[in-house]
């Protein structure tokens, strides 16, 4: 029996493009990550375990993944609203607003971090009012979430917006003529149509937020056990020339990220097969 993956198609070049894809991904993703793993093998299992389960490190995992998850969740909600407004309505300055959405992509993250810190610190423009309400943002985990929401905003908007624009107005009119109210039309007709895109946007935002470093370290205050993110821990280990320790933590982060993204992908596949 011979295995045949080749699929006949209009465009030739399956072998060439697959080879390129594997080579490209190998060079850019796999080899650098493999180096990290190799480095870790210089440690004994006990050393490795001690490093990656140190209380300070575990606290940083919780903050990194928790804050990234919450930030992606917040953006799924508000990003959806932004995408909705951009896709559905015409208003003066719409192009400007549309361009504004991409700004967090272009801005150096350090600039974002410094700006957000100035805004939300105890005597900043926004921070002073929040302070009178008893809410502290800068130098707390909440600040981390704010920074992550900022840098991951474009993902949900940009994935959901084209899908919303492609939705036929007639489908909504059909739902209304059948007696559905606005909420029913949204929940039963529009939401199922944009759900895959929303999930993709969430995944991208989540992945981006996990790896974010530049903007967070300014606003977080970096208190060990409280507002210290894992990427910062890795950098500080590197600064102490603890290369093995840094890669050990990095590898754990890598594995958790990979497993989470894989799970979300499976979830997406499942939701897609369920609807079409």
């Amino acid at each position: 029996m011979t295995l045949r993956f080749r699929q006949p198609g209009v465009l030739p070049g399956f072998g060439l493009t697959l080879g390129f894809t594997l080579g490209y991904l190998g060079l850019l993703v796999l080899i650098p990550l493999a180096i990290a793993f190799l480095r870790v093998f210089q440690l004994s299992w006990d050393e490795f375990w001690q490093i990656v389960t140190a209380p300070r490190v575990v606290a940083s995992y919780r903050l990194t993944f928790g804050a990234a998850f919450l930030a992606a969740l917040v953006n799924s909600g508000f990003g959806l609203i932004v995408a909705w407004v951009l896709a559905r309505y015409r208003f003066p300055g719409k192009r400007l607003v549309d361009a504004l959405v991409d700004l967090p992509f272009a801005l150096p993250t350090a600039v974002a971090g410094i700006t957000l810190t100035m805004l939300y610190s105890g005597n900043g423009w926004i921070g002073q009012y929040l302070k009178s309400l008893g809410i502290k943002v800068a130098f707390t985990p909440l600040g981390v979430i704010v920074a992550l929401v900022f840098i991951s905003l474009p993902f949900v908007v940009r994935t959901v917006q084209p899908v919303l624009e492609d939705l036929e107005a007639e489908v909504e009119e059909a739902a209304a003529s059948l007696g559905a109210n606005r909420w029913q039309t949204f929940r039963r007709i529009i939401f199922p149509a944009i759900r895959p895109a929303l999930l993709t946007g969430f995944t991208l935002a989540f992945a981006r937020a996990i790896g974010e470093y530049g903007s967070v370290i300014f606003i977080a205050g970096n208190l060990p056990m409280v507002s210290e993110i894992t990427p910062l821990l890795i950098v500080s280990k590197l600064e102490q020339y603890d290369y093995s320790g840094a890669t050990a933590v990095a590898v754990v982060m890598l594995v958790i990220s990979f497993v989470l993204l894989l799970l979300i992908n499976l979830l997406q596949r499942w939701s897609r097969t369920r609807q079409v």
Partner: protein, 371 residues
């Protein structure tokens, strides 16, 4: 339920889509809104449905003003040209949708919904497709599902926007016969929009011919075809031959042909247009006595299924005229290109040039599939 439309006016920017439309649709009838694209027929249908609002005027359902009622509360079933099925739902769920979104108090039980959807799918003869998804169906099947979905909410009025416009000719013919039978079974007041004259003539009880936001004529299919009220209706329904003519004291003259037009007894030497259907013309080998024929030359003969179409060039002006006759008729004395003939119209209609109803002339042939 009867529908009364009073003084409906609608503008999109500078474009007047509907210009003071008055129309009564009696309960239980199947009415076609017929006209070229941009004539306002779809806008009128959408205003009846409540999907669009008029600038002025009223829509009355059974004498009650429905203009302010939301589409949700109008009790209309709407069928779209491109089906507008819910892609992520099975055929069954599509049809059940209208029942499932009802307020809890009036929502049927699960078993009632099951039974109702099953009945409806059988009505549209697609019971075996209940578990499929819209993208797995053919165009004709999708449109029938869309109709079943609209009927599920037991509408008082069924509105169809070019329901067969996206289908190929064969399926379209099949479906419109089926729609007619369905209407005879259910007797729901129905309005459908079409630009296909053949479709309107075949399916509708009454035809409303529209042009440029106004109604040109309302009548039975025989009325609008045999007795067109305006030159536009004449041109839009079926093919026509157009002759330039002069009318003087009750007589119209086209070249050497003279026809009596008693309605223009008092007209003096006015330019006019004469409309003749291609199948209302006899061709003779010899001229008749009196001024009843026009000489012409056959320039082309083409057999189109059941009819033979001949193109004629008039000797004087060089204008081209079309004549249609049955194959049998043609076989009696087959004419060839180049033959000299004498044209004798059996029936014609004369409109004066200054008649306000005369439009700048455009040849509307619908989709070209003619009559």
């Amino acid at each position: 339920m009867s529908i009364d439309i009073q003084g409906l006016y609608k503008r999109f920017g500078d474009f007047v889509a509907l210009d003071n439309i008055d129309l009564t649709i009696p309960a239980g009838q199947l009415v076609a809104l017929l006209g070229p694209s941009g004539c306002g027929k779809t806008t009128l249908l959408r205003i009846i449905a409540g999907l669009e609002t008029a600038d002025r005027g009223q829509v009355l359902f059974d004498g009650v003003d429905a203009s302010r009622r939301h589409v949700r509360e109008r009790g209309v079933g709407f069928v779209f040209q491109h089906y507008a099925l819910f892609q992520h739902m099975s055929v069954f769920e599509n049809v059940a949708f209208g029942l499932r979104v009802r307020p809890r108090a009036v929502r049927p039980s699960a078993s009632q919904i099951q039974a109702k959807v099953k009945t409806l799918l059988e009505l549209v003869q697609l019971g075996w497709l209940a578990d499929r998804y819209p993208h797995q169906l053919s165009g004709g099947q999708r449109q029938r599902i869309a109709l079943a979905r609209a009927l599920a909410v037991e509408p008082q009025v069924l509105l169809l926007d070019e329901p067969f416009g996206a289908l190929d000719t064969k399926v379209r013919k099949e479906l419109r016969r089926w729609l007619r039978r369905l209407h005879d079974e259910l007797h729901i007041t129905s309005v459908f929009v079409t630009h296909d004259q053949e479709e309107a003539l075949e399916v509708a009880d009454r035809i409303v011919v529209m042009n440029r936001g106004r109604i040109e004529q309302i009548g039975s299919p025989e009325d609008v075809y045999d007795a067109p009220a305006t030159p536009f209706v004449y041109q839009f329904l079926g093919h026509i031959n157009l002759f330039h003519s002069r009318v003087h004291a009750g007589w119209a003259r086209v070249g050497g042909l003279r026809v009596q037009v008693p309605e223009y007894d008092d007209t003096e030497n006015a330019p006019a247009l004469v409309y003749v259907r291609p199948h209302d013309i006899d061709l003779l080998r010899e001229p008749e006595d009196g001024d009843t024929t026009l000489p012409a030359t056959v320039s082309r003969v083409s057999a189109l299924g059941s009819v033979v179409r001949l193109e004629l060039i008039q000797s004087p002006g060089g204008e081209i005229a079309e004549v249609e006759m049955t194959r049998e008729h043609y076989a009696v004395d087959p004419l060839r290109a180049g033959d000299m003939v004498f044209v004798k119209p059996r029936q014609m209609r004369v409109f004066l040039h200054d008649d306000p109803k005369i439009e700048p002339l455009v040849h509307w042939n619908g989709d070209g599939d003619g009559i």
